[in-house]
Amino acid sequence: MAKVMLGGKEVEVDEDGFIQEPDLWDQNVAIDLAKTEGVQDMGEKHWKLVNYIREYYQKFGIAPMVRKLCKDCDLKLKEIYEMFPSGPAKGACKVAGLPKPTGCV
């Protein structure tokens, strides 16, 4: 575990760069997290996706399936990989401030 500066505040992240205190998440944190994922510009679609993941997580305590992302955010699977090169699990979920997904990912 290490403390890093994200969005102008000190946030604890795990060895994969996922933030440990979900409550500290805000838009500025997300923008900086996105940069660690090689996403320089968070466009409208990025925000829609990230906010959706975040709300889903707050409601159900688990990351949404990629099916839900595509359907509810009206995105093609390919687009998600274009927006977040590391994919929905390691890319989009990280920017949305979720803990690292469990299992073989």
Binding site: E15, D16, M65, K68, A89, K90, T102, G103, C104, V105
Partner: protein, 477 residues
Amino acid sequence: MIEKSINIEDVLSLPLDPKEQKKAVEEKVPCVAEGRLKVYDPNTNNVKKFLELLQSRLNRSVVGSMTACVHCGMCSEVCHYVLARPHDPTMVPAYKGDQIRRIFKKHFDWTGRIIPWWVHAGSPKNDEDMNRLKNIVFGTCTGCRRCTLNCPMGVDTAILVRLTRGLLTELGIVPEGVFVVSKDQWETGNQMGVTEDEYLETLEWMSEEVGEEIGDPTFKIHVDKEDCDFMYTINPREVKYDPRSIGHAAKIFYAAGESWTMPRWGWDMTNFGLFSGDDKLGAFVAKNLYEAAKKLRAKRIVISECGHGYRSTRWEGYNWAKYSQDISSESVLVTLIRYISQGRIKVDPSKNSLPVTFHDSCNIARSGDLTEEPRWILKRVCTDFREMFPNRADNFCCTGGGGALSMVEYKPLRMEVAKIKAQQLIDTGAKQVCTICHNCVDGLGDLIRHYKLDMQVVQVLDLVANALVVPEKKEEK
């Protein structure tokens, strides 16, 4: 690729963090409440329990590996942990094995009684010692078995590592990630906690996507269809995060005119029991799958691209589940070879023109003897295939094996020792590295990002689907 070497003491002294275990107890998660999955109890004599369990697990192959090591050092020449950190004696496979061997010698072997100082016989004194053992067996070895093949005495260090992991799992002295994934697999039958509705919805979605692509809106991935030629089983990662591979497989099976189905339950061919050393979990997961195939009267089980899933489902699972191997199983690669050699599908290698190399997954090549099949296919679906050296059973681990991806606390060490793999990848000059394991996809992906390599990870199904010539309709790409 010069990196600061980490202090190994920081890894070996990582504390036990049973937060998720406590949560599971509070929430009365059935597998924990019923004792199938153990949680850490600081008020019990864990050392005594550990020794009793060890005694009950001793069998011929374990005792052979406990007694045969002569400390010749051959294992140190092949382990990527040692090669990357030659200054660190704790990286040597013989050292890792010795941590359990010394306990065996102290309590169960005559050498420990007569010449304990000579064989370094010793016993863990308290939970702290066992926590250190946890960090050694979970954090400093991916169980890749490269040392096993290089041992002149036939010592299988990975067996000792898995045995020790299993004993610690029985005491709840495990990394958080291992506990959480085991819990999910016990509770939902798959390691990512995918519900049945989500699974079925994703299959429907992929059916629509494939149907659109091949111009057949009636196309459907059948679920629980009886008497098919095979039952297709997958890694939950495919459903949860990246179902493109399901679509690719479905498209190829369609083109080959295959009669196939996926089961409603028993579709997860991965098995965390292999990684945690928990044979009971191994038996539960494997049996779900075998029973599903039996119920559906499938002629065979086809296993999608996954290293430990292949090993667990095709080899180890029958022993864990004490299940007779009535229905044969095969890797999807064998299925693909059948299609190509019988002319059931046509492929155009010019669709894949980037230079591609192949990474043999440990559990498939070294522990599964499937080495020529992927090369046979790659040479037919790509124009520029380049061998990686060493390869086949001698290949290096992706560095994410043995469940390492789910144990994030050990990632800095994992990335440091990945420099061996990174160099191996660079030397191929390839732009794509193909593997037949979802775990390797992420293991390689992590190190490619870490070492900033100009390389992309692909799988055999991706390349075959891309090269597939669908006769009725012109190719989409």
